[in-house]
């Protein structure tokens, strides 16, 4: 029994033992409510079942001619900074220019009233949404090339053929930034 890690912690370092118990409690709470508390992570990536929801993707044309193609996997941090924020902006546009998760967050706060104080601190400020496209141009200029003068963002709609391979159906222009 004394060889058990938790027991050894209890006898050797009470502070660490207490932190460990808090960590384990946070993990349990996260699993029960699906509300993680970093650093007590919940590794629930790719746990959902069902067909892919990816029936469209965003693309960016630079200076009206070149497709921005950051396809290298090791480029992930920069690529996500561009495409993941762009996707959030697109969702926000469909949501009247507000944080697309806000409604869900408010529903969560309703269930857990003790979070009310924290809730006041989150959520975008009035100008955040409006300043996004100029920021995107600034970031791409700084991170890709300062020769970038103009960006055209579009959405490509795709379907999967009988062999399950993606095929483009159509494209639609969304935003023009310069």
């Amino acid at each position: 029994m004394r060889k058990l890690y938790l027991v050894r912690c209890f006898y050797n370092n009470k502070i660490f033992f207490a932190l460990l118990i808090i960590f384990i409690a946070a993990v349990c709470y996260g699993h029960k409510t699906n509300l993680p508390i970093t650093p007590a992570f919940i590794s629930n990536v790719y746990i959902l079942k069902g067909d892919t929801k990816k029936d469209s993707f965003l693309f960016i044309t630079v200076n009206g001619t070149t497709l921005l193609n950051l396809h290298h996997t090791f480029d992930e941090p920069r690529r996500m900074m561009i495409y993941s924020t762009l996707e959030t902006y697109r969702q926000a546009a469909l949501n009247g220019g507000t944080d697309p998760e806000l409604a869900l967050i408010d529903r969560t706060v309703k269930k857990h009233p003790f979070l009310h104080g924290l809730r006041q601190a989150i959520g975008w400020k009035a100008g955040n949404y409006d300043h996004y496209l100029p920021w995107l141009l600034k970031y791409i200029r700084a991170s890709v090339s300062d020769s970038v003068k103009r960006l055209d963002v579009g959405v490509a709609y795709i379907h999967y053929n009988d062999r399950n391979l993606p095929v483009t159906d159509s494209t639609k222009p969304l935003y023009h930034i310069e």
Partner: protein, 287 residues
């Protein structure tokens, strides 16, 4: 696993050396805080820590402000470098570095509008070096090892018992499709495109690959019961992330910092040639 290769000093140099490598990678990929160019959209998600992060108004000082962002990155750089040189001998510099990495991880995840797990290891592991007493450090380093095992074991439990997608035949194909559709359309001439197409059109093989990956994650559970297999378990995350790199288009090398905890560790220094005192080597303990 009888011969210890790490003591606190070496563990510190390797951990902060790895952190320095991550810092260079983040600079190269334009994702240090000052390189984000004062981003405007963020995601606070459903993680209370991120809510607290905004509640204390950290972004107003160190993200929205150009000079604040520069100062933050300089602190991250200097504290990481200093801990490599001193082998984390100064508790205050360790604390500054650990807090800086935690805030960096939260900042990047928040402003990229997607919570990635890649930086998780560096958000936690530096705190271990706040402990200087050999016996205590050994115990806490062992705790970090369990955290490493937990990250993969938890993913396995989710896939096998909670989400239960381990038993969903199209899952392999769906993961490749979701992550590689854009690549396939924009890079049809890449040598990887026919490989992805092959796996998408052979769902049995994709599913077998998916099951194998989940079982790889599950194999980390062994580490909770014995340390004798650590030399094999060390390679499991390496293999797992390498396969993910090609098929799922995610780059998780930063999480491999936790693998250091799977290296054989001894509490005392062996430099004098004497056997180490204090708690016996890692391999004798069981969870």
């Amino acid at each position: 696993m009888n011969k210890a290769v790490l003591d606190r000093e070496k563990a510190a140099r390797l951990t902060f050396g790895f952190a320095f490598l991550v810092l260079a990678y983040r600079w190269f990929t334009h994702s240090l805080v000052y390189q984000l160019q004062q981003p405007v959209l963020y995601e606070s998600g459903f993680d209370y820590t991120y809510w607290v992060y905004h509640f204390i108004r950290f972004p107003e000082v160190f993200v929205d402000n150009k000079w604040g962002a520069r100062i933050f990155d300089i602190v991250l750089l200097i504290s990481t470098g200093y801990n490599i040189i001193t082998a984390a001998a100064n508790r205050m510099s360790v604390l500054i570095c650990a807090v800086a990495w935690t805030f960096y991880g939260i900042t990047y995840n928040s402003y990229v509008c997607h919570f990635t797990y890649a930086i998780s290891g560096l958000m936690l592991l530096p705190y271990v070096f706040l402990v200087k007493k050999k016996e205590n450090f050994s115990l806490i380093w062992e705790g970090a090892r369990y955290f490493c095992l937990y990250v993969y074991a938890d993913a396995f439990i989710h896939k096998a018992f909670i989400g239960r997608n381990l038993y969903y035949f199209p899952m392999g194909v769906e993961i490749i499709k979701t992550n590689q559709a854009q690549f396939l359309l924009q890079n049809p001439r890449s040598i990887l495109s026919p490989v992805y197409s092959f796996f998408i059109t052979h769902p049995g093989l994709s599913y077998a690959g998916f099951v194998w990956m989940v079982l790889l994650q599950g194999s980390m559970i062994i580490g909770f019961f014995t340390k004798k297999w650590d030399k094999f378990l060390f390679w499991v995350p390496v293999l797992f992330h390498a396969i993910n790199y090609f098929f799922v288009d995610v780059f998780f090398f930063e999480l491999l910092v936790l693998n250091l905890t799977l290296l054989p560790f001894q509490a005392g220094s062996n430099r004098s040639g004497r056997p180490a005192t204090g708690p016996s080597t890692y391999s004798r303990h069981t969870a």
